[in-house]
């Protein structure tokens, strides 16, 4: 299983939506880290996302752009993405963010970001 530790591999302060919002934004996370890691996975392999290591919390804008964005840009169908991802955290409050990420991915339509452009 491959792993992304958000706090250590990306930023302790994930913030913002678009690339122009800064290097800690959801779009940068998705394009520079998440999608490349998903490409490296074997067919039955999963990607573990460590949510709370050195991270205090997330905003919905970051989570939607980072995770639901994978579906919206047309890279992967929501059901397939949900099967590929697992989440871990020590702080039980982060169960809330796991639920939200899964909700945002489920609600995303494949390729909707391309259609709106």
């Amino acid at each position: 299983m491959q792993r992304i530790n958000v706090g250590k591999d990306f930023s302790g302060h994930p913030i913002g939506r678009y690339r122009e919002d800064g290097p800690e934004s959801g779009e940068v996370f998705r394009e520079d880290l998440l999608i490349p890691k998903l490409k490296e996975l074997e067919s039955n392999e999963q990607l573990e996302i460590v949510l709370d290591d050195e991270v205090e919390g997330y905003g919905s804008s970051f989570l939607v752009e980072a995770f639901a964005g994978v579906v919206k840009v047309g890279f992967m169908h929501s059901d397939d993405l949900l099967k590929k991802l697992t989440f871990s955290y020590r702080d039980e409050d982060f169960a809330f963010f796991e639920t939200k990420i899964k909700q945002y991915i489920s609600e995303a339509s494949l390729g909707s970001a391309k259609e709106s452009k």
Binding site: I15, G16, Y18, S60, S61, D93, F96
Partner: protein, 174 residues
């Protein structure tokens, strides 16, 4: 005659001894009985006092928790409305965003662990609304330089907050 008198004295002495022994046993029994009942009544009193205190504290806790939650909610709403009623500002937005994220965390934790005495269905309703509040308050162009004032956001936040309050207001008057 003297012999009879002597026997009578000896008999009486035995009776007195028996009486003394019997008295002493009875006194011991009385002491044990008294000490036992005192201990039991003290213990029962302590247990009763604990339960009376415990329940009156619990009864008092629910309305106080509900009132504190409503205060937090009202403060959170105010912060969100302030934030979403104006465009992005590099200095102010940074502080406001931190306050909104921290404020939502407080609401989330309070809703989960607060002692409001809500039934399971009401608690679930409360948690769903708080989850929706997160989507609206920190969604869209939150933390983005592109953010513009949003009438839709301010209205949605205000409406969700308005739906949360009645669930707890009932409890705050108990």
């Amino acid at each position: 005659m003297e012999e009879e008198l002597f026997k009578t004295i000896i008999n009486q002495s035995d009776s007195i001894k028996a009486l003394i022994v019997s008295n002493s046993e009875s006194s011991n029994l009385r002491f044990i009985y008294f000490a036992g009942t005192s201990l039991i009544s003290t213990a029962l009193g302590a247990v009763l006092a604990y339960w009376v205190g415990h329940f009156s504290h619990k009864r008092h806790l629910k309305p106080e928790s509900a009132k504190s939650f409503i205060k937090l909610l009202s403060k959170f709403e105010e912060q969100c409305l302030e934030y979403w009623s104006k465009n992005h500002d590099p200095k102010e937005s940074l502080i406001e965003e931190a306050k909104i994220k921290a404020g939502h965390k407080q609401l989330r934790l309070y809703a989960e662990y607060g002692n409001f005495g809500l039934k399971a269905q009401k608690k679930e309703q409360l948690e769903k609304l708080i989850s929706r509040l997160f989507d609206e308050a920190t969604g869209g162009d939150f933390e983005s330089k592109k953010r513009q004032a949003s009438r839709a956001k301010t209205q949605k936040v205000a409406m969700i907050t308005a739906s949360i309050a009645p669930i707890l207001i009932e409890k705050s008057f108990e």
